[in-house]
Structure formats: structure tokens, C-alpha cells
């Protein structure tokens, strides 16, 4: 392919611009600067296209742009040795050439910043209101399902329970086990200094049962199922499936949200319980290996000194976490607009928000339980 080139020649009062070579988009790189730096001030400009190989819209744009600028400066522009196809193409491009290409750079400065801050603040307020109304709507549908259980989509519920509960069991159990192991290991090194090794039982049981078991389970479920909820319902939103449901007289909340919320409501306490047990098992195993606390001693100590209330205090929180995770995930999914990118953004914020809310609620419960003294 011959590289395109441009040659200037002054003939009397006219400037002859000879364009040659392949003026096609792929090879314009070499002449682009030459063309755009040219600001001819001659009265007459003649484009000589005799040496031109092929021409496409890219090449035509460079020629037309130069011709346009020259005419704007008061020159007359003519073409020589131009074929019919080339002239048709030049004309088409000249007709479509845009004088001003709309700029895309966002406005900068203090006032736009202030404006965007204001927008975001109002947006955050609206989001909160919208989420609360969504929570209300979901609770209403849940209550209605309790009164009219035949409206419940059982197949969807069971499949969600399998997806969010059964399939999460291995990871939750492993996590609980490792937490127990880590607590025993860390606790042991500290407690050994006082010769109070036996208190490792209380350390493990109380921290796992009251806090860590359920809290970490909720965090795993938020990452695992919350993201899945947002992504799947969000994709349905993009494909207009939600709109289709509404036109068919199906309530998206009843069909999509209620089974998911119920599934988490049922499965999260179970998963939390499994995590608790696995944590105790891991702790007991580590205490036995590291501190020589025999399993028998561990169990006796557990029975004597750890009230069953600790387990209850932990598990009471599970349904709250479940509702928070499911409602945030489904609400975020309903906020998806238009593009698939929006699904990704909403999935991310769904997980982040759910984890944050789970931890915040856990903190509130801690304060509440310590105030009431259990």
C-alpha cells in the first residue's frame, strides 16, 4: 500500500495541493498532521487528485475539512483529475461534515461540584425512602402470604432454599470450623500466660455463639446470595421481563422477592447454627491438640458455664440479617436501568450495602442485649 502524501505548489495566484497515495482510514496516520496544520491563505485552491490511489470517508474527511477551512477563509476551491466516484464521495462527506463536534468533557469547577454534591445528597435521601417503601411492600406481601399460603410459589421457594442454603452449607461449615480453630489458637497463646487455659472454652463458645458464627455467615450469604439475587433479577429487569410480568398481572414482588426473602429467612438461621456447631467443633479440636483440653472436659465446661442463651442471642439476629440482605439485594435489582453495566454496579452496591447493614444491625443488637442484660 502506497502511503498517502500531500504536496503544495504555488502556481500564479493559485495553490495546487496534490494528494496522492492511498487515502484510506487505516493509513491516514502519516498525513493527518500535515493536513490539519495546513492553513492556506491563497485566493484559489486547486486539489489535484491525479495521484490518488483509493479514497474512503476518512481520507475524504481530511480533504473536505481542508477545503471547508479554506473556503471559510475566502478561497475558491476546485478539484482536478477527480473521478466520478471520488467526487460523489467528497460531496457526500462535505454534506455531512460537522462544523462543531459536541464536546464530551464534563463541566468542572466549584459550582458543578456543589451541584453534584446536592444531587447525590438528595439522591441518597430518595434511595432511603424508596428502599424503606420497598421493605414495607415486601413485608406486606410476606404477611399476605402467611394469611393466604396457597399464593406462595413453592417451587421457587424450594429452589431458592437449595441455592442459598444447601449449596452454601460446605463453605459456611468450613468457615465456622476455621474461626473456631483460629480463636482457640490465638486464645491459647494469651491464656497460657496466666495459666488460665481452661477459659478457652468460654472464649470460643461465647464469641462464636453470640457473634461470630451468625455474623460471618450473614456476610458470606450477603456476598453469595445477595449478589446472585441482584444479578438475576437485574438481568430480568434489563430484558424487560419484569415489565412483562406486570402486564401479565403477576406481581414481581410476590413472584420474585417473596420466595427469596422467605428462603433466606428459613436458611440463614440454619446456616448460622451450622456455623456455630462447626466453630465449637473446630475450637474443641484445637484446644485438645494445642492445650490438652480433652473433648470431654470441653463439653462439661461448655455445659456448666455457657448458658444456652448465648446461642439464642446469636440466632435471634439471623432472621433480621436475612431480611436485610434479601430486601437490599432485590431493591438494588429493581433499580437497574437500561444497560448491563448497571447490573454490575447494582450488584456491587448490593453486596457492599448488605454487609454494611448487617454489621450495623449487629452492633445495634449488641448494645440492646447488653442493656437488657442477657
Amino acid at each position: 500500500m502506497t502511503q498517502p502524501s500531500i504536496a503544495l505548489e504555488q502556481v500564479n495566484d493559485a495553490l495546487r495541493i496534490a494528494v496522492s497515495g492511498e487515502m484510506v482510514t487505516q493509513s491516514l496516520e502519516s498525513v493527518e498532521k500535515g493536513f490539519r496544520a495546513l492553513h492556506p491563505d491563497a485566493k484559489r485552491i486547486v486539489f489535484d487528485l491525479s495521484g490518488l490511489g483509493s479514497l474512503d470517508t476518512g481520507g475524504a474527511w481530511l480533504i473536505c475539512d481542508l477545503a471547508r477551512r479554506a473556503s471559510a477563509a475566502g478561497a475558491t476551491v476546485t478539484y482536478e483529475n477527480v473521478t466520478a466516484t471520488q467526487s460523489a464521495l467528497l460531496e457526500t462527506v462535505a454534506q455531512n461534515i460537522a462544523a462543531e463536534i459536541p464536546a464530551e468533557a464534563p463541566p468542572r469547577g466549584f459550582v458543578p461540584w456543589l451541584e453534584s454534591l446536592g444531587r447525590r445528597t438528595v439522591g441518597a435521601g430518595r434511595d432511603t425512602a424508596s428502599m424503606l417503601s420497598f421493605l414495607g411492600l415486601t413485608l406486606h406481601r410476606l404477611a399476605r402470604t402467611l394469611v393466604m399460603p396457597w399464593r406462595l410459589r413453592r417451587a421457587a421457594l424450594v429452589s431458592q432454599m437449595e441455592e442459598t442454603g444447601l449449596k452454601a452449607l460446605p463453605i459456611v461449615a468450613l468457615m465456622g470450623f476455621l474461626i473456631g480453630v483460629v480463636l482457640a489458637f490465638q486464645g491459647a497463646t494469651q491464656l497460657k500466660q496466666f495459666g488460665a487455659e481452661i477459659f478457652v472454652v468460654e472464649l470460643i463458645s461465647i464469641s462464636v455463639l453470640r457473634e461470630l458464627g451468625v455474623l460471618l455467615t450473614a456476610i458470606i450469604v450477603a456476598g453469595r446470595s445477595g449478589s446472585a439475587f441482584t444479578a438475576s433479577i437485574g438481568s430480568m429487569k434489563v430484558q424487560e421481563e419484569i415489565d412483562a410480568m406486570q402486564t401479565l398481572g403477576l406481581d414481581p414482588i410476590e413472584v420474585l422477592v417473596v420466595p427469596r426473602v422467605l428462603a433466606l429467612l428459613i436458611m440463614l438461621p440454619i446456616l448460622g447454627f451450622v456455623a456455630d456447631m462447626a466453630g465449637l467443633f473446630g475450637g474443641a479440636l484445637m484446644s485438645w491438640i494445642d492445650l490438652g483440653v480433652s473433648p470431654g472436659m470441653f463439653v462439661t465446661r461448655l455445659k456448666e458455664n455457657t448458658d444456652v442463651w448465648h446461642l439464642a442471642v446469636g440466632l435471634i439476629k439471623a432472621p433480621f440479617f436475612a431480611v436485610v440482605i434479601a430486601v437490599i439485594a432485590c431493591w438494588q435489582a429493581m433499580q437497574v436501568k437500561g444497560s448491563s453495566q448497571s447490573v454490575g454496579q447494582r450488584t456491587t452496591s448490593s453486596v457492599v450495602q448488605a454487609i454494611f447493614m448487617v454489621i450495623a444491625i449487629d452492633a445495634l443488637f449488641s448494645i440492646f442485649f447488653s442493656e437488657v442484660g442477657v
Binding site: 482510514t25 496516520e29 493527518e32 470517508t57 476518512g58 464521495l89 461534515i97 463536534i101 444497560s339
Partner: protein, 271 residues
């Protein structure tokens, strides 16, 4: 009748250059055979319309030619390059010389219309940002979209505008061949006619070869130089549309002599 068309097709073969040459193509999904021993030539500078009933593999043929679907057997040559078994570098070069506009646009949803059109330029050329923007906006203007739509996202456009934007992106690198999958499906009659005119004009101005899968009889009569009918797993007949009515095959007869076809034919002749 069938033979007469075949004969006419081979007459001018000496002067015509086949930009796409499909030979003995076989496409199969599991036990279902879509194409069997399919042969097709597309000549430089023509607008070829591919028609056929639903499920005859029109889109599959398009996807196979552009390399999105691997056929079970056969060979495909585009611009002299074997796209199935040729070297990877040749394939890459060929991809810059064709443009594909998908049925629903398939625009990148996270980019604006202008950025969508600039994407191929950015990838395959070393032009400056401002020239790429200028060329992008030129293509957007060429397909008849207002400059205002440059900064819009695909989700903010109507279906017809998305199709135009997709065409602008397909034209970004000034390809020699443009593949269009159902370009006028879902457009209102006025919009569809305008789109037909647009393709006709661009084809004239840019010297394009257009490979068009369509169901739109109006498009066939308005802009297609030749029509290829897919049926019985192969190209049943090909030739100028006026000769299709003479083909002795029930489906072809029904398609090209039905009431809709007659109306479209009338309109095509009125133009």
C-alpha cells in the same frame, strides 16, 4: 426456469469478483442439520438479500461467514482469505475490512454512541483523538443520526436509532463488505424505507458490498441487486428479484407472489 437463472448468473462471472465465496458449507447443531452442501457467491459492489423461512439458518449463515460460528464442513473465502483455516493474522486483517451490524444493534451499553463508533478506530488505527472524533461524528451524520445523539448512551436511543448507530459503527473503518442482520425488522414503514434508502445511498457513495439478511420484501425490491433464497438446507435459487416469481418451488412462489410481495413489487417499481 431454475436453469435459466443459473445460466444468467454464470454468464458475467469473468468480470465479476467474488468477495465472499462459500463452498459445500455444512452447519449442524446436534442432530439438527441447518445447512448442507450450501454454495454461495457474493459479488463486489452488489447488495445481496438473503431470504428464507424462519429457522432456515439465515442468521447462522451470516454468523458463520463472519466467524462467530464454526461450521461442521465446507470452506469460506472472504476477500480471498480462507476465514476458517487461514492463518490468524490474515483473519485479523480481514476483520478490519468488514463491518457487521447486528439485529438489535449490539452497541456497547457502557459507551456513548460516539464512543461506540470510535471503538474500532481506536483499536485499529493510530489516528489522533480529535480526528477519530471527527470521523466518528461524520459516520453518525452519514447514517442520518443528529449530532445530538453523539453523547447519548444506547439505552437512551429508540430501536431505529440504535440500528442506525450500529450501522455507523459497522462503517467506522470504511469496510468493503457490510453484513446486516434484519436491518429493518422492528422499524415502522417510514423508518424502514428511510433505512433502505440510506443503505442504498451509502452503498453507492462508498462502493460497499452489502450482505443483508432480511424478511422485508420492500427492502428486497428497493435496494437488493440479487436475492438468495435459503430453503432445503441450501441456497435454493439466487438471482435478481424479478426472476424469483418464475421459480417453480412452492415456498418461493408463495413468498414472491403473495399479496405482500405484489404490493412491495408495485412500490419498488414506483420508486
Amino acid at each position: 426456469m431454475d436453469g435459466a437463472i443459473q445460466q444468467q448468473d454464470t454468464r458475467g462471472e469473468a468480470q465479476r469478483e467474488a468477495v465472499i465465496r462459500v463452498r459445500h458449507l455444512r452447519n449442524q447443531f446436534g442432530p439438527q442439520v441447518v445447512h448442507d452442501d450450501l454454495n454461495l457467491d457474493v459479488w463486489r459492489g452488489e447488495v445481496l438479500g438473503i431470504v428464507g423461512g424462519s429457522g432456515t439458518g439465515k442468521s447462522v449463515l451470516l454468523r458463520t461467514i463472519v466467524g462467530l460460528n464454526k461450521p461442521a464442513a465446507g470452506s469460506i473465502e472472504v476477500l480471498g482469505v480462507d476465514v476458517l483455516n487461514g492463518p490468524e493474522a490474515d483473519r485479523r486483517r480481514i476483520e478490519k475490512r468488514w463491518g457487521v451490524a447486528f439485529q438489535d444493534g449490539a452497541l456497547f451499553s457502557s459507551l456513548t454512541v460516539l464512543q461506540n463508533v470510535m471503538a474500532p478506530l481506536r483499536e485499529h488505527t493510530g489516528l489522533s483523538e480529535s480526528l477519530m472524533r471527527a470521523l466518528g461524528s461524520l459516520k453518525i451524520s452519514l447514517v442520518g443520526l443528529p449530532q445530538l445523539s453523539c453523547g447519548k448512551f444506547p439505552s437512551e436511543l429508540s430501536g431505529g436509532m440504535r440500528k442506525r448507530a450500529a450501522l455507523a459503527r459497522a462503517l467506522a473503518l470504511d469496510p468493503e463488505i457490510v453484513f446486516l442482520d434484519e436491518p429493518t425488522a422492528g422499524l415502522d414503514p417510514i423508518g424502514a424505507a428511510a433505512y433502505d434508502d440510506l443503505i442504498g445511498e451509502l452503498q453507492q457513495a462508498l462502493g460497499l458490498t452489502v450482505f443483508m439478511v432480511t424478511h422485508d420484501l420492500d427492502s428486497l425490491y428497493a435496494i437488493c441487486d440479487r436475492v438468495a433464497v435459503l430453503a432445503e438446507k441450501r441456497v435454493l435459487v439466487e438471482g435478481p428479484i424479478d426472476e424469483m416469481t418464475k421459480v417453480d418451488h412452492p415456498w418461493v412462489q408463495e413468498y414472491f407472489t403473495g399479496p405482500r410481495a405484489r404490493a412491495a413489487q408495485q412500490k419498488g417499481h414506483d420508486r
